[in-house]
């Protein structure tokens, strides 16, 4: 049943599908990124996950803001750590 007072959103403007298409484009883009989670928070899209470099993070955020124009995009993306550990885990 459809509520006549709130018409359905045209598919091309539907944020769910726009986010799904963004995920596909991030996977096929320069960073080949499948590890970023895209979550809807009301009208806002939140990006979380860890990416290999600052360049990847910036590329992903730029792509997201372009493709989701009209919606706020928040980024909590982290850069993968590259330090060496100061101890090992004892499995003896």
């Amino acid at each position: 049943m459809t509520d006549a007072s709130s018409p359905l959103t045209p598919a091309a403007e539907n944020l769910d599908y726009r986010v799904a298409h963004l995920a596909e484009h991030l996977a096929s883009g320069d960073c080949g990124e499948l590890g970023v989670r895209l979550e809807l928070r009301g009208d806002t899209v939140l990006l979380t996950g860890t990416v290999p470099s600052t360049q990847c993070r910036d590329d992903i955020l730029r792509t997201a803001r372009e493709e989701l124009a009209g919606h706020p995009v928040h980024s909590d993306l982290l850069i993968a750590g590259t330090t060496s550990p100061d101890h090992g885990e004892d499995l003896t």
Binding site: Q55, G81, T82, S84, L91
Partner: protein
Amino acid sequence: MIRVAAVGDIHMGPDSQGTLRPSFEKLPECADVLLLAGDLTRHGTPEEAAVVAREIKDLGVPVVAVLGNHDHHDERPEEVTAILRDAGAHVLEGQAAVVTSDGARIGVAGTKGFGGGFVGRCAGEFGEPLMKEFVRYTRRCADGLHGALKDLEEWNCDVRIALTHFSPVPDTLAGEPPEIYPFLGSYLLAEAIDTGGADLAVHGHAHAGTEHGMTSGGVRVRNVAQPVIGQAFHVYHLPGRSG
């Protein structure tokens, strides 16, 4: 004691050169071998593989690797493998390698592995040809891993390690959406590990997962995806044959 360093999912590209090398150069001080658990590149191109090769060449410890799904994306896994081997790495797919350190023989059996899911929540070899091939491909990977572990049993190793990209257990996927577990691993890999015999299983692939798990046969599992461990590698201390 045998010291095993491991990392996966380093996803190197042109902008990555030199980011891991400073930490990798400390490996001779803290590890006897470096394991690379797949997804070493972003798209599996020879150019990206060359970045990885320069990062791991002449480290002073043996390097043993499997490829991941990203390393297959450009459909040139043989070229990626050749470039990594030219840099001195053992690259395994249904194969085993033994490396030595201070007289200790460290056996590693490796496969990329594939998905399918876990007991009670998994794909079956049934229906459309594509669906059957999906499961059969995972089964071939698991069979290759099992055979490689059995080879190691005969090669007088001090420790045996199963190295995969996809996960053998759901434990180390905790943090990932449960809906995608069937794309992150398969119980067939764990069954191969438990029946083939191993002292440790190491994998990557699940960036949002957790480090620690165990097969139902009691083999400890570690998810070493770089986003999970948050460092260039982690080190695991295993007892040698003499304890």
